[in-house]
């Protein structure tokens, strides 16, 4: 009897342990298929990729996540991830450990960098499925600074940028600091383009996807272009990531993403959000960053 009791206690302990494992950690491909649901993390409040419009979650990454779940014939559990101080933290919070405040852990995270050096520093996750290339550029109002404006015009005219971004770093140091006095900072990329449309700024700097999506129907009244950002990275690749123990899931999702790029599905998704699509180089499709 006593022995039985001890066994029973262990059994209960085991049950609790396994229950907490399934609720707290992301699952393998088999388990996901069995459960019929996949958890995909996207950034919270991240225009134009994953943001709320009239309370509804929308954006490029949201559409990609929906397409992935449909292709896999699974229910989609979209998890909005609040950005932490850097992407290392986000990966930990979203897919390989979870945040200490609780909340869900996702099976897959979208919109993570696809970068060899970065992946070497993050051995808890596997990066794969590069689906677009982001570029930093300028948007400007040709009526204020002319069709052929360069960065030099902003020694005389106001230029907006999202605070504490690589474009912000660039503007602060460009032309020996000569345009710093004309830099206007905003807390979100959408506020930058809103001010540009309203005529409060002659130009704006930032990721081109954000500038284009923000201008949307006013797109034709503005010009966009790249800037030579000496010493700073002006373009980078974005893809997906899973926890390192779920490579199998990564291969599966990676194949679908590669097909989405090749078949023009991603391009179409970008188009519905008013953004020109810039694909990753051909030779990257379907590979992992390590």
């Amino acid at each position: 009897m006593r022995r039985f009791k001890v066994f029973w206690i262990f059994w209960i302990f085991f049950l609790q342990l396994s229950a907490s494992v399934t609720s707290a950690f992301a699952l393998s491909l088999d388990e996901i298929t069995e459960k019929g649901e996949i958890g995909i993390a996207v950034y919270r409040d991240y225009f134009p990729f994953s943001y709320r419009k009239d309370g509804k979650l929308t954006g490029v990454d949201v559409d990609i996540a929906r397409y992935l779940a449909k292709k896999m014939n699974l229910r989609l559990n979209l998890i909005e991830q609040t950005a932490d101080e850097n992407v290392e933290d986000d990966l930990r919070n979203a897919i390989w450990k979870g945040h200490y405040l609780g909340g869900q852990v996702a099976d897959v995270m979208l919109h993570v960098p696809y970068d060899r050096e970065f992946s070497l520093r993050n051995d808890q996750v596997v990066f794969f499925g590069a689906y677009y290339q982001e570029r930093v550029g300028l948007a400007w109002n040709p009526e204020m600074v002319g069709e052929q404006a360069t960065i030099a015009v902003f020694r005389f005219d106001k230029i907006g940028v999202e605070l504490d971004t690589i474009a912000d770093f660039y503007l602060a140091s460009a032309l020996g600091g000569a345009i710093l006095k004309n830099v206007v900072h905003f807390h979100s990329p959408r506020k930058v383009t809103d001010a540009l449309i309203a005529g409060e700024l002659a130009g704006a700097a930032g990721p081109l996807t954000q500038l284009e999506a923000g201008l949307k129907e006013h797109r034709d009244s503005f010009r966009t272009g790249m800037v030579p950002m000496r010493g700073l990275r002006s373009h980078w690749l974005l893809g997906a990531a899973v926890k390192h123990t779920y490579r199998q899931l990564g291969y599966f999702v990676g194949d679908i993403l590669a097909a989405m790029v090749k078949d023009g599905v991603i391009k179409e998704i970008f188009k519905t959000h008013g953004i020109k699509y810039n694909p990753p180089p051909d030779d990257l499709l379907g590979s992992t960053a390590q």
Binding site: L101, G103, V112, D115, E134, D164, H185, G231, L232, R233
Partner: protein
């Protein structure tokens, strides 16, 4: 009995002619209770055991010769699945202990039995992202209300008898990164708070709200260019626009007021510290960046800044200027002292902020050679500032510098104590530095970014933590108690010649205030990163300390992790006394 106590307290309140807000003070904690908290021994109604924040008790029932007899009376668990860092200071009033805990919880506990009377758990929204653990540093009492701040930046006023919410006010938008974890405090019928926040985009402020209604009375932003508020109208601008900030960088200049402040009634001044300027890259904001990394002396009636002391102008190492300013009188002068994250111990004339002396309290400080006492400015060592990341044109990792102290500071949040018995300050400090380099391959919210890489490194093989006894008259260090793990707990001292503190290894300790010798210690079962207190009841002296390892230290890796990874979490209050 209770009636008599209240009546006496009211009489005391009338005698020192407190504010017109006394309608509030008809029941419960009065202005007189708060004003006399450093002298009265039967209760603790302020954070800091007196509003000057000296953490000195006139009690000497327990002294150097009998302290070894201390035994636990009861222990109370915060329960739940939620543990992590417990940094609170208990308050004791009318037979009840009010103590906050991790995840924005507060408990009322029967002081005699350790039995819970009520518990309030703030409902925290999804998606909050507090910077440094889920701690709370304590509550304030006034009238029949008890006040505390939450991780989603609310100030909550509860009925102290029932734990029911009387009012709740938003101190900032948690979605923008604001939270509030410091202990609020009461000055002239107002409850005073600051804000904690993410590392960029927010601007620090000190605010006064009517303690009865929660209505905002004044607001004082800490960064120049921002407009203050008084009675619903704009008052004056903080500083002078663009005097020490380039372009519009002041708009999001940081200066978070994430640690509490205190109040000196002799000079009628609120002291509050402001955190580091934002963004982290100092090359984007050349200038002193007032009033980030500064101590502010504020007029409690209108929120005007009387004077300031900026400890780290053009801050570039994450040396927040938030640490407590402790008022004391010595040599016929009204003085105040503060031990900065940057490793220097400052003593100033608290009537005007004029520096008396500034001396290093940790070893091997690398960013400045000394502080110029005439101007109050540091003599920088220019080669110890991180380079401009945009200048590393090859896109490679920048040159690493080794800066001391580390960004967690010569001293972090944990409050020091001043003894009227020994005339010394007891300062919990840490001996560590950091490798700091520009990291070109970093990402933030899915975008390439120029980050900084850092690794905290202990300076010595055998210890990081160092509790020091400092003579404020010349900055000399009288004794030092070394500790393997970093010290993260507040200190308290008594007229019995004792210094009390705890360590991450879990010991609650009593030290000889003259020699630093450990006279007694007790293992509490988890690390101590909180603020001990002492009080008296029926001729017996009681002690209380919260136990529960956490806070900012375990969140950072590097070589420090090795010394702390075996430490277990917890969440409880321990109460001690000598057996009869």
């Amino acid at each position: 009995m209770n009636f008599i106590k209240t009546t006496l307290a009211l009489a005391g309140g009338a005698a020192i002619a407190v504010s017109s807000m006394s309608s509030q003070a008809q029941a419960g904690v009065t202005d007189a209770d708060i004003a006399n908290d450093s002298k009265t021994t039967h209760q603790i109604v302020t954070n800091g055991m007196g509003r000057k924040g000296q953490r000195f008790s006139p009690l000497k029932i327990v002294n150097k010769s009998n302290v070894k007899k201390l035994l636990p009376v009861w222990s109370f668990s915060f329960g739940g699945e939620k543990q992590r860092g417990q940094e609170s200071q208990p308050l004791i009033y009318d037979g009840v202990m009010y103590v906050t805990s991790s995840y924005s919880r507060i408990f009322a506990v029967d002081v005699k039995t350790g039995e819970e009377l009520w518990q309030y758990d703030a409902r925290l929204p999804d998606g909050i992202m507090p910077c440094c653990d889920v701690i709370n540093r304590g509550a304030a009492l006034y009238g029949d209300l008890v006040y505390f701040g939450t991780l989603d930046a609310k100030l909550v006023a509860l009925d102290r008898k029932t734990g029911k919410v009387k009012w709740k006010k938003k101190l900032g938008d948690y979605k923008a990164g604001y939270s509030f974890t410091a202990a609020p405090f009461i000055v002239k019928g107002n409850v005073i708070t600051g804000v904690s926040g993410g590392e960029f985009g927010i601007v620090g402020k000190v605010e006064a709200r009517n303690a009865e209604t929660g209505e905002l009375v004044w607001s004082r932003p800490t960064i120049e260019g921002h407009m203050g508020m008084l009675n619903g109208k704009p008052s004056t601008m903080t500083g002078k626009l663009n005097a020490t900030w380039p372009g519009d960088m002041w708009k999001s200049g940081g200066g978070a007021t994430w640690l509490g402040g205190n109040y000196d009634d002799e000079t009628d001044t609120i002291f509050y510290g402001a955190g580091n300027p934002a963004p982290w890259n100092s090359h984007l904001r050349k200038g002193d960046n007032l009033y980030a990394a500064s101590r502010l002396a504020i007029n409690p009636d209108n929120g005007e800044i009387k004077w300031h002391l900026q400890t780290t102008p053009w801050e570039g190492w994450d040396y927040d200027g938030v640490n407590e300013v402790v008022s004391f009188n010595a040599g016929g002068k009204k003085l105040a002292a503060t031990a900065d994250r940057n490793g220097f111990f400052y003593v100033m004339d608290r009537t005007n902020g004029k520096l008396q002396n500034a001396t290093p309290f940790v070893e091997q400080i690398s960013w400045a050679s000394s502080i110029d006492v005439k101007t109050g400015r540091p003599n920088f060592i220019d080669s110890n500032r991180a380079g401009d990341p945009t200048k590393s044109a090859d896109g490679k990792k920048g040159k690493a510098i080794f800066a001391v102290p580390s960004f967690l500071g010569g001293k972090n949040w944990m409050p020091m104590a001043y003894s009227q018995n020994s005339g010394l300050f007891y300062v919990p400090s840490n001996e560590w530095g950091m490798d700091l380099w520009n990291e070109p391959v970093t990402y933030k919210k899915g975008a390439a970014y120029l980050g900084a890489g850092f690794t905290i490194k202990p300076l010595f093989e055998d210890y990081i933590g160092s509790l020091k006894a400092i003579d404020p008259m010349d900055g000399s260090i009288k004794w030092e108690l070394k500790n393997n793990a970093p010290l993260w707990a507040g200190v308290m001292t008594t007229a019995g010649g004792l210094v009390f503190t705890g360590n991450p290894e879990g010991y609650f300790m009593a030290l000889d205030d003259a020699t630093g010798k450990v006279l007694w210690k007790f293992q509490t079962g988890s690390g101590i990163v909180s603020q001990p207190v002492t009080w008296e009841e029926n001729g017996e002296q009681y002690f209380a300390v919260v136990s529960g390892w956490g806070g900012a230290v375990p969140l950072w890796g590097g070589d420090v992790a090795k010394r702390i990874k075996h430490l277990n979490q917890g969440g409880s209050v321990w109460v001690f006394k000598m057996p009869k």
